[in-house]
Symmetry: C2
Subunit: 492 residues, 2 copies
C-alpha cells in the first residue's frame, strides 16, 4: 500500500516508517556483505549517470523498492567504495554500526540546537561529550568546559580552522585596526593540509601573506621551529603581523608530526590540526605526539576519520570560547530568550559558521558508549599493527622502500627507481595498475620531491587478509610494471 | 551476545548491524507516536544533563538497550521537540520518512565525494538533483548545469552566502587590488537573516561596511529599491565599493519578499536568500515571488526547512561556477588525478568551504522520488491552508490582530494593546504562558517596532486539530493574561 497517495498523504507516518526503514536496514548490511565484490575505485566514465536519470523530477511518487533497485543498478557502480576492506586511499572514512545508529537518532529526532533553548539536551550533551573526548586525549583543563575552555562539534577541519582563524584575526584587529587585515600573516608547512590556505583566503588574508614553510627528509617533514621564527622575524621586519601558526599532528602526505613544544612559544595563535592522528592519541603510547598541546590556543581532530564515527564529525577545542562569541555571534530579536540572556548557557550557534546545527553530539555519544574507550583503543592498535605488517612486507622486498618512517597506520613507500628521475613514472604506473584492477585502492603524495604511494589502513572492515592481498597485488603488478617499463630489477 | 567484546571486535558486522538497527527503527516511530505527550519546549533547567552523565567516557562497551533507555530517560526530556505537531516556532525543520531513509543511505554508504573520482555517483547525482530542484523552481537555465551555471549542496544558508560573498569579493578584488578589501560594502535590509552579517564579517569585510537598510509597514517590510540605490550612491561618494546585495524571499520575522526585479539592476552581485519560502515556489501560484531571479548571481534555499528533508540541506545555485573555483579551489598533490585534470568533471570541494563532504544528494533524490513533485506541492499547500485557517481565527477575534499580511505558512499576530507601549508586555507574557504550558511552542519577532507572535506552520505531523488546539490555547491564555495584567478588553 502506498501511504504517499494524495488522498492520505502522511509523509512521517509511524507505521510505514518502520516498514520502509526495515528495507534500508536490510539493504545496508547487504551492501557491506557484497562490497568486496565491487571494484574499489569506480570504473564509470564521466557523465555516466545522466543516462540513468530523467532530466527532471518525477511528478508522481515511486515505491521504495524501485528506488533501492536504482541504488543497486545505477548508484553503486558509480561509487568508490570507502567502506570496502580494500580501500587504502586518502585517509579512511571510518564507519561503524554505532556511528550509523547515532546518526539515525540524530536524523530521526531532527532537532536544531542552535541555541540552548532550542533543545537543551543537544547543547548539554555536546558539552559533555566534548569534555569526554578531551579527557580521552588528556587535553589540559584549559581546553575543557569543566575547566576554563570548551569544545564544539563542527563538520570539518576547514570549518574548525576557519573559525579559529576568524577568532584570532578579530582579536588582533581589535587592537591594531581592521584596515591592517592585509598585514596579517598565516604560517604552516608545505605539509600542512590545504584547508589552512583555503580558510586563510576565506577570512580575507591576502594569499601573498600565506607562508608554506619547506620541510625535508632530514626531520621527517616536520615544521622546523627555527624556520618559523625566521619567517616571522622577516615578516615583522617587513611591517607585517604574524597571526596564526597551524601545526599538524599526522600530516596527510606522510603522517608527519610538528614539534608542538618547540613551536608554541611567542606565537599569537597556535592551532593544532590533529584531524587524522588525534584519534590515535587516545592510546597512551601515542599521546606524546600531543606534548606541548598546552601551548596551543585551539586544537581540532576528526573522529570521522579514525574513531568509528560516520561522516561528518570534527571536534574543536578552544581555550577562550569568548573569542568565538566575539567573532561569530549574532543575536537577532527572533532568537532572544531568557536562558541566553542569563549567560548561564552556551549557544553553540556562536561557536560555528552556520546558525542551524544538527544533533551531532548524540552520534559520538553512542559511538563512545557502545564501544567504550577500551575497544576504541583496541581498534586504533589493530590498524597500527596491520600497518606494521604491511611496512614489514615492504621492508623485506628489495625492489621497494619505505620512504618515510611510519608513525601511525599510514605506510609511505615506493618502488625504488634505478635513477631518481624514473621514480614518478614507475610508481604512478604501479598505482594506476593497482587501482585499475579494482581489487584495492591506494593513493599517492609527493614529499621532498619524491613520488610516494600511500597505504592508509583504517577502513573498518579491513582484516589481515586484505592487507596481505594488497601486498600480493602490489608485488604482482610491480613485476609487470618493471618489465613493461624495461627496468631490470631483480625479483625479491 | 555482545559482538563488541574485545576477542572478536567487529564494529561494522553486517549481522549485528541489522539486529541493532532494528532497535532504532522501532524506537524512532515510537518517539513520533509519543511526541505529543511531551512538553514541546523542554522544561529542564540549565545544567540538568550533567547529573545524568559520568564526567568521563566509559571504559567498557554498553549494550544498545541501556543507551536507548538513557535517550528516553535523560535526553528526550531535554529536547525541544521540533517534530512535535505542536511545534510552531522559528521555522520548522521538516522531517519525513523518505528524508530519514535518504540520510540512512548517505550514512550507510559513507562515501566522501570531495572530487569526482572519490565517488563519481555522488558528484553526478548532486548535479542531476540540483538541476531537478532548479527546474522545480523554474530557475533560468543560466543557473542550471544543463545550462551555463550549476548547483551545489551545502549544509546551511550561512555557508551558501559565505561562499557567494567570497566569490564576489575575490572577483572584485582581482580588479581593484586586495588592499581594497576594507572598502567593500554589503547590503541587506533590517529583515535580512543575521547570517548575512556573520558571513560578511567572516570574509573580512569591516562591520562598519555592512548596511542594514530600514524597512517598514508601508511596504510589508520589503527592501526599498530607492533606498538601496541611495545607499550605494552615498557609499560610492565616500570612496567605498558596493559589492553584494542580499535579497530575501520569505524573511524570518514576517515572511517578507524583497522585489527582485526592481533590485537586480546595477548591482555587482545579487544573492537571493530563499531559505524558507523557496520551497513554496515549486507551486505555480507562489512562483511569482521569484520573478526577477534571472537578474541574480546566486540563489539559495533550504529543503530542510519546508521540503520534507531532514537536516541538513541547503541548495545553492550560481551563474558562474568558475568564480567558486577561483575562490575556493586548492589542489594539493595528494588529490591530483586524471579526471580532475581533464576538466570534464566537477570537483565539488571547490564549490564549498570544507574538503570533506557527505553524499547529501542521495537524500534529496530519495525525498523527491518517494514523494513526487505532486505530493511535495500538496504538502506546501496543506501547510498554507492551515496557516490561512489560523489567520482567519485571529482575524475573527477582536482582541487580536494579524500584524503583517500572510504570504506563506507564517502568521504574524498579536494581542492588541490598549496603548502601543503595552504591546511587548502583553504579548511576551502570552508567549511565555503558552510555551510554559508545554502544549504548543511559538516564537516571537519584532517588526517595525511591534512585538509580534509568529505561528510558523509546517511540522510534518501537524494536522488541523493541532492548529485548532493552538488557537484554543492562545485564546484561553489571552484571557488570563489580559486579566492578570489588568487589561479590560472585551472577550471575543
Amino acid at each position: 500500500m502506498n501511504t504517499l497517495s494524495l488522498n492520505n498523504f502522511s509523509p512521517l507516518d509511524p507505521e510505514s516508517f518502520l516498514e520502509e526503514s526495515k528495507l534500508i536496514v536490510d539493504f545496508i548490511p547487504d551492501y557491506y556483505r557484497n562490497v568486496e565484490k565491487y571494484p574499489v575505485q569506480s570504473q564509470v566514465c564521466s557523465g555516466y549517470l545522466v543516462h540513468h536519470c530523467p532530466d527532471s523530477a518525477p511528478y508522481s511518487p515511486e515505491p521504495l523498492e524501485s528506488i533501492l533497485k536504482e541504488v543497486s543498478d545505477s548508484i553503486i557502480p558509480g561509487l568508490t567504495h570507502w567502506q570496502s576492506p580494500n580501500f587504502f586511499g586518502y585517509f579512511q572514512a571510518n564507519a561503524s554500526t554505532a556511528g550509523f545508529l547515532g546518526e539515525m537518532l540524530c536524523t530521526g529526532l531532527n532537532v536544531v540546537g542552535f541555541n540552548w533553548i532550542a533543545s537543551p539536551a543537544a547543547t548539554e550533551l555536546e558539552s559533555i561529550v566534548m569534555d569526554w573526548v578531551g579527557k580521552m586525549l588528556m587535553l589540559p583543563t584549559s581546553f575543557l568546559l569543566s575547566g576554563s575552555g570548551g569544545g564544539v562539534l563542527h563538520g570539518s577541519s576547514c570549518e574548525a580552522i576557519l573559525c579559529s582563524l576568524a577568532a584570532a584575526r578579530d582579536k588582533v584587529l581589535k587592537k591594531i585596526g581592521h584596515h591592517k587585515i592585509t598585514k596579517l600573516v598565516v604560517y604552516g608547512s608545505d605539509q600542512t593540509h590545504s584547508t589552512l590556505q583555503k580558510a586563510s583566503k576565506l577570512v580575507g588574508i591576502p594569499t601573498s601573506n600565506f607562508r608554506s614553510l619547506p620541510t625535508s627528509f632530514s626531520n621527517d617533514f616536520a615544521l622546523c621551529p627555527d624556520d618559523v621564527r625566521t619567517a616571522m622575524e622577516e615578516d615583522i621586519g617587513a611591517g607585517l603581523v604574524p597571526l596564526f601558526l597551524c601545526a599538524t599532528v599526522g600530516t596527510t602526505s606522510s603522517g608527519a608530526v610538528d614539534p608542538l613544544e618547540a613551536l608554541g612559544h611567542n606565537v599569537t595563535w597556535l592551532h593544532i590540526d590533529a584531524a587524522y592522528a588525534g584519534s590515535a592519541c587516545i592510546c597512551p603510547e601515542f599521546r606524546h605526539h600531543l606534548n606541548g598541546v598546552e601551548l596551543a590556543d585551539s586544537i581540532s581532530m576528526n573522529p570521522h576519520k579514525w574513531l568509528l564515527t560516520n561522516m561528518d564529525y570534527c571536534c574543536l577545542w578552544i581555550k577562550e570560547p569568548k573569542l568565538f562569541v566575539d567573532s561569530l555571534s549574532t543575536t537577532p530579536e527572533y532568537l532572544r530568550n531568557n536562558a541566553s540572556e542569563s549567560k548561564k548557557v552556551i549557544d553553540y550557534k556562536d561557536w560555528q559558521i552556520a546558525l542551524s546545527r544538527r544533533f551531532r553530539a548524540i552520534k559520538v555519544w553512542v559511538v563512545i558508549r557502545r564501544h567504550g574507550l577500551d575497544n576504541l583503543m583496541f581498534h586504533i592498535r589493530s590498524d597500527v599493527n596491520l600497518a606494521k605488517r604491511f611496512e614489514a612486507y615492504v621492508a623485506k622486498d628489495p625492489r621497494f622502500e619505505v620512504v618515510v618512517p611510519r608513525r601511525f597506520a599510514l605506510v609511505c613507500f615506493r618502488l625504488r627507481p634505478k635513477e631518481e628521475g624514473e621514480g614518478i613514472e614507475l610508481n604512478s604506473r604501479l598505482l594506476m595498475v593497482v587501482n585499475g584492477s579494482g581489487r584495492s585502492f591506494i593513493t599517492h603524495a609527493v614529499v621532498g620531491g619524491i613520488y610516494i604511494i600511500r597505504c592508509a589502513i583504517g577502513s573498518t572492515l579491513t582484516e589481515t587478509r586484505h592487507v596481505d592481498g594488497l601486498w600480493k597485488l602490489i608485488q604482482d603488478n610491480a613485476q609487470l610494471v618493471l618489465q613493461e617499463l624495461g627496468f631490470a630489477l631483480e625479483e625479491a
